[in-house]
């Protein structure tokens, strides 16, 4: 194995890392702000990919409009889920929202499967990148798909914007205040429940965005989120539950690590992240970037 080949794999790992980062970012925002462990995140990611595919099939919409519309639609669905279902469970044990979101996952997967089979007559659908992003580009050290470069750049940009909004703006301050101490925040005349709905919608919107980005790389199928979400949860735990910086950095790092793993010793590729999780939990139970519970 040459150094060049090793570098190629590191670079390649950033693509998967981009998906982990986008998904765990949404999970971190939702958990950090609302204390909801959203098991339906993988299904909403799949819904993003499926919506892009369906918009193309039904209305002839291409990749670019779908990249905007699909995450908005998924965000809207998120809003309905939060208002209609999750909000009824606040104050109850966390296991209730875990069960609810898990149930939603099963429901969504089967529903999409039925629609795909009956309406589009496929169980796994093709989706191609837009013409201007298809093909490979010679990076000097390797031939790399243009589209994958685009995914890395866009994911980084979105992560940066999200971090900036939450940490540096007034909107972010309100959101943080609403979750730290809803009673006091309410006393300032802020409608906390509206902000909660908004945060949830943005979080799942990010999952929807990741789904659209994934559609040209992986095939669009009902269970595409099921496997990914497990790794993503591991990423969130490693990064520190609720830490935005942690989820982004860990997301990219795990992507790179898995790529190196599968290049050096393929059978370990899928297990690597869990080994890492176990090690991190032993050394730093609150995750790499997480604060101990008491310090919040």
């Amino acid at each position: 194995m040459t150094l060049q080949y090793f570098l190629i794999q590191v670079f390649n790992g950033l693509v998967n890392g981009a998906f982990y980062a986008l998904l765990s970012l949404g999970l971190a925002v939702i958990f950090g702000m609302l204390r909801i462990v959203n098991f339906a995140h993988g299904a909403l990611y799949m819904l993003g990919a499926f919506t892009a595919f369906a918009l193309g099939q039904l209305f002839g919409l291409g990749f670019w409009p779908s990249l905007i519309i699909a995450p908005l639609l998924v965000g809207l669905i998120g809003m309905i889920i939060e208002r209609g279902l999750l909000s009824r469970l606040y104050g109850l044990e966390p296991s209730y929202n875990l069960l609810l979101t898990f149930g939603l996952t099963l429901l969504t997967q089967d529903l999409v499967k039925q629609v795909m089979l009956s309406r589009f007559a496929v169980s796994s659908a093709p989706y191609t990148p837009p013409a201007e992003l298809s093909g490979v580009v010679n990076l000097g050290f390797t031939m790399f798909p243009k589209y994958r470069l685009f995914v890395i750049v866009l994911a980084l940009l979105v992560c940066l914007i999200t971090w900036f909004v939450i940490e540096k703006t007034r909107v972010g301050a309100i959101i943080r205040a609403s979750t730290e101490n809803p009673t006091v925040t309410r006393a300032f005349g802020i409608d906390v429940s509206k902000w909660v709905t908004g945060v949830f919608a943005v979080g799942v919107g990010l999952a929807g965005l990741a789904g659209v980005l994934a559609a040209p790389i992986y095939s669009v199928e009902p269970y595409m989120g099921a496997e990914l979400i497990i790794t993503t949860f591991a990423v969130v735990v490693i990064g520190g539950m609720g830490s935005i910086l942690g989820s982004v950095v860990t997301g990219f790092a795990v992507g790179v690590l898995a790529a190196i793993g599968s290049a050096l010793y393929p059978p370990i590729a899928n297990t690597l992240v869990f080994i890492l999780m176990a090690v991190v939990l032993l050394i730093r139970p609150s995750g790499l970037f997480g604060l101990p519970e008491g310090a919040r």
């Binding site: 496929v122 169980s123 659908a125 490979v136 031939m143 790399f144 992986y218 095939s219 899928n270």
Partner: protein, 407 residues
């Protein structure tokens, strides 16, 4: 009280021995032949087999009864879901045989599920016709008196495709395979076929996790190794992902061809045939290979709404072959039917030049190496294959001399 119980027991025993006596004098157990299609009705293989396989078996039953009036209303078909899991397949097989009085098991996609059901059926002396499961173990070290392997197996896939691709100049390979029974077996068989034809592997094959969505690491490895052929032993959705990413990384443009271990029509449909164009694969049949196949497929499409995959056509053929054996044996007793099947030679729209080998129960038939056409060359919907070579039944499958089967 005790006396009453005892007499009830004796009465039951007497009655049951009476029913046994009645059953033996009748031609058919419980007066029907019940065909059990044990398949994947909801998961990843449900499109290529599943409900279509159940429909195919029903069509075979209807056609058989029409041709043999003495069997009118005597053949029934039940479809059961095994979810591609070996443990579920075991339980369902036992339940179908014990409670539903099924006389034969059919289809069985997923090698591990096929092996499990075959084991159960052996204990209960019920014939099994494996159509969609691929492992060669079924007719090799795990063979048994009641199991027959129809349509295809990993040896035939590897022997057909490995030979054809290597002989056409694709003599250096890099292979990846899913890390479970089917993939490991197919990788072994493919490697052997390539080496037999003086081809070589540029590096040891890589086992990938199963299931898996991202194959970019292996495609980048192929880029740097520059083999003439990138061989993938993945199946179903994993195969679709491999091929999608093979195109994304532009390997074809870099002069690296694609060799596919197991290909179903539904995989091509999932990605569009241009993504597969030029790839070689080996199949036992395809719907538009000739007039006879077209005629049967038209009937299937009318009944089911979709064109048949080769797995579904295989289930029809296997069901008909089984029912004909029942007619010859004049009984649906497992041992009698096995006897009627062994050594039988026949030919139908699906199985040409077929022979049921009595030594290992491999059903040999002519198979075809095909190449996927570009969309522009397709004359109609579903026209995806061009025939490259016909491999005669006698050459397509494991030679008996190499079989470890002891029946």
């Amino acid at each position: 009280m005790k006396k009453a119980k005892l007499s009830a027991l004796i009465a039951t025993a007497a009655l049951s021995s009476l029913t046994v006596a009645l059953a033996q004098s009748a031609k058919l157990s419980d007066n029907v032949i019940k065909v059990g299609v044990l398949t994947d009705l909801s998961g990843v293989y449900s499109e290529l087999s599943g409900p279509g396989s159940v429909k195919a078996a029903q069509m075979a039953a209807a056609d058989f009864m029409a041709k043999n009036p003495s069997y009118r209303n005597k053949v029934q078909v039940v479809g059961v879901d095994h979810q591609n899991k070996a443990d579920v397949a075991s339980n369902k097989a036992a339940e179908m045989i014990d409670r539903q009085n099924v006389d034969v098991l059919m289809d069985l996609p997923t090698s591990s599920a096929a092996l499990a059901a075959s084991e159960i059926a052996k204990g209960k002396k019920i014939p099994v016709m494996v159509v969609t499961g691929g492992t060669t173990a079924l007719t090799n070290d795990k063979c048994n008196k009641y199991t027959f392997h129809y349509a295809y197996d990993n040896y035939m896939l590897a022997n057909g495709t490995g030979t054809a691709v290597t002989k056409r100049g694709g003599n250096s390979w890099y292979i990846i395979y899913p890390n479970y029974a089917f993939g490991q077996d197919l990788n072994r068989q493919m490697t052997a076929a390539i080496q037999e034809n003086k081809g070589k592997l540029v590096t040891a094959s890589d086992a990938t996790p199963f299931p898996n969505t991202d194959f970019s690491s292996y495609l980048l490895k192929a880029q740097s190794l520059k083999p003439k052929v990138f061989g993938t032993m993945q199946a179903g959705n994993d195969l679709v992902n491999v091929v999608k990413q093979y195109n994304e990384f532009g390997l074809k443009q870099q002069g690296i061809g694609l060799g596919i271990g197991l290909l179903f029509e539904t995989d091509v449909a999932a990605l569009g045939q241009d993504a597969f164009a030029g790839a070689l694969a080996t199949v036992p049949w395809y719907w538009n290979m000739d007039a006879r196949s077209r005629e049967w497929s038209a009937g299937f499409e009318k009944a089911f709404g979709k064109k048949p995959t080769w797995a579904q056509a295989g289930v029809y053929s296997a069901t008909m072959t089984y029912l004909n054996a029942v007619a010859r044996a004049k009984s649906d007793n497992g041992d009698a039917v096995v006897k009627a099947l062994e050594g039988h030679r026949f030919s139908d729209f699906f199985a040409r030049g077929a022979h049921i080998r009595s030594q290992d129960h491999r059903v040999t038939l002519d198979v075809y190496t095909v190449q996927v056409k570009p969309k522009a060359q397709a004359k109609e919907a579903g026209d995806i294959f061009t025939k490259v070579a016909t491999i005669p039944a006698s050459k397509a499958f494991t030679p008996l001399a190499e079989s470890k089967c002891k029946l």
